[in-house]
């Protein structure tokens, strides 16, 4: 038994991807934990931006929603919801967009809308929220999901937020300025787009995870990079910071979706 859980490995890895970044537009759920961890570890000056209008939020506990009171109270500025999308997200001034997903396909496209037919769905999901424009307009995006075959799927029935679309050149043809999903971070490893095909390929595997286990949890025939790395283990400092965050949050009651 390792000294950390798979979720902790995922969150720490996601937080590390924010090193050297000035600003992060934070989606709800797993991304929020990772972004808040980054502020406590590799990126203390990182400006966290929430779609509720909080810019530069510095919460002491993990927010349970994107509009928790502490986000506004600790922010450098709180602006209206129209302003956060129009003045802050849309012009491409935010470095990284951090997104979760119900489903993500091999080119990093995201579905958070429906499983099944749109008009009579098998499962109705929450919908788009801020994600389509976060995915379009941040200079780059990072997607954080747990690695399951029903989550990493070959094809989406509904594209809520665009990754690389149909493949190379698709984003540029649509006039999107952001680079798209440069990284998909899961509890098993890290997937990055192949420069030729834009297909997400395994570039790093978390310690103790077998490549076959990753393949089995991926809904498309997974390409493993020749130079596959093993993700660096969480440091004691990272784990302490993360556990302090999540403990403080859970003592407030309620979990994080």
């Amino acid at each position: 038994m390792s000294a950390w859980t798979a979720d902790e490995m995922m969150t720490v890895t996601a937080a590390r991807s924010l090193a050297g970044r000035a600003s992060c537009f934070v989606g709800i759920g797993l991304p929020s934990t990772a972004a808040n961890l980054a502020r406590r570890t590799c990126s203390p000056d990182l400006a966290l931006i929430y779609e509720s209008g909080a810019i530069g939020a510095k919460p002491t506990t993990l927010p349970l929603s994107i509009g928790d009171g502490e986000l506004g109270e600790t922010a450098d500025a709180v602006v209206s919801v129209p302003e956060i999308f129009n003045y802050w997200l849309q012009p491409g001034r935010v470095d990284v967009g951090f997104l979760g997903a119900a489903q993500v396909d091999r080119r990093g496209n995201i579905n958070t809308t429906v499983i099944g037919d749109y008009r009579s769905p098998a499962v109705r999901l929450p919908g788009a929220g801020g994600a389509p424009e976060i995915a379009a307009s941040c200079r780059e995006t990072v997607v954080v999901v747990r690695h399951r075959p029903r989550t990493l799927v070959d094809r989406l029935e509904f594209v809520t937020s665009l990754g690389f679309g149909d493949g190379p050149g698709h984003r540029a043809a649509l006039g999107l300025r952001g680079r798209g999903p440069i990284r998909l971070i899961t509890d098993l490893g890290v997937l990055e787009p192949d420069p030729e095909t834009c297909e997400l390929t395994l570039t790093s595997i978390h310690p103790g995870v077998a490549v076959d286990a990753v393949r089995a949890a991926t809904g498309w025939p997974l390409t493993v990079r020749a130079d596959l790395r093993v993700t660096e283990e969480p440091t004691a400092a990272e784990l302490t910071a993360l556990r302090s965050l999540t403990t403080r949050s859970s003592t407030r009651g309620g979990g994080v979706a």
Binding site: G67, G69, R119, A122, G130, H170, G253
Partner: protein, 296 residues
């Protein structure tokens, strides 16, 4: 001018509302002070397009439950983030349509009554019109600005526009670039909750203020529930003030945002959000909840 409306005052309020409706006529009146029941009775009608706004913070839950209690039907419910209060309205059968951008129980999971309506047409079929947050926010901005549409970089490459008639492509007359247009939202009524109003109906809210100003300014009528009625609005950092002459009615409803929060008054009741999950998951437990609310 301040008129306290008692039980017999409804006729006068009705006259006043006609008089104040958007038109070229001058002389708008200040907001009236009403009870929550009076405000909902006068301002929210069957078949109306109703926007209850409040982005996580200051959600007008008490007003939503009063709409349930008064048995409104065939509403078009508009809201960026339909959460518990819309789950309740939908489960109670008040809504014929839902216009939204994210429907979930924040920090918990699904909205089961919303899903039951969309997936199984229970208790009645519900039509949905779905956008992104950026699109909905801009639709309110257009509505508040007296414009028929707004322009944004949005939806490109997604499947959202395929199912929604209120999204179109528009070309920049200067650069030739293709952008996205969304149709304005102009609800019949906007309902919001605020921390304070003064006795002239000037409304003050602060903290995360979301899209409430836009919703009120876009709507033909508005009802604002407040934590507190005060003589004078003390300036507050980050506050939005809506002058009384753009608000139709104000109702004093302490804890009117519970289980969401009102900054400076009370915190978010996270346990309520958790406890809603088992209540709403099942039609019967929801039915019991509904009986209790309507009996109140």
């Amino acid at each position: 001018m301040l008129v306290i409306i008692d039980a017999h005052g409804v006729w006068f309020l009705g006259w006043l509302l006609n008089y104040c409706s958007y038109s070229a006529q001058t002389g708008s009146r200040m907001a009236e002070l009403v009870s929550l029941a009076e405000g909902v009775a006068e301002l929210v009608h069957d078949g109306d397009a109703v926007a209850l706004e409040g982005f996580t913070h200051l959600i007008p839950v008490a007003a939503g439950q009063e709409i349930i209690r008064q048995g409104r039907r065939d509403l078009t419910l508009i809201r960026m983030t339909p959460d518990i209060v819309y789950d309740q309205l939908i489960g109670a059968g008040c809504a014929a349509r839902l216009v939204f951008s994210w429907g979930g129980n924040p920090g918990v999971g699904s909205l089961h009554r919303f899903r039951d309506a969309v997936e199984n047409a229970w208790p009645r079929p519900i039509e949905i019109e779905e956008h992104s947050h950026a699109g909905m926010a801009n639709r309110y901005v257009a509505g508040a600005s007296g414009l028929p549409f707004a322009v944004l970089r949005g939806y490109v490459g997604t499947d959202i526009a395929k199912h929604t008639k209120t999204i179109a492509t528009i070309t920049c007359p200067f650069t030739g670039e293709a952008l996205t247009a969304v149709a304005a939202l102009n609800p019949d009524v906007a309902v919001i909750h605020a921390q304070r109003a003064d006795r002239r109906g000037n409304v003050q809210l602060w903290g995360i203020t979301g899209v409430q100003k836009e919703a009120v300014l876009a709507a033909s009528r508005s009802l604002v529930t407040v934590e507190e009625l005060v003589d004078e609005l003390e300036p507050q950092p980050g506050a939005v003030v809506l002058p009384g002459w753009v608000v139709t009615a104000v109702a004093h409803v302490p804890r009117g945002a519970h289980p969401s929060y009102a900054q400076g008054y009370y915190d978010r009741d996270n346990d309520y959000y958790q406890s809603w999950d088992p209540i709403s998951r099942d039609r019967e437990t929801f039915g019991r909840w509904l009986d209790e609310v309507t009996a109140a």
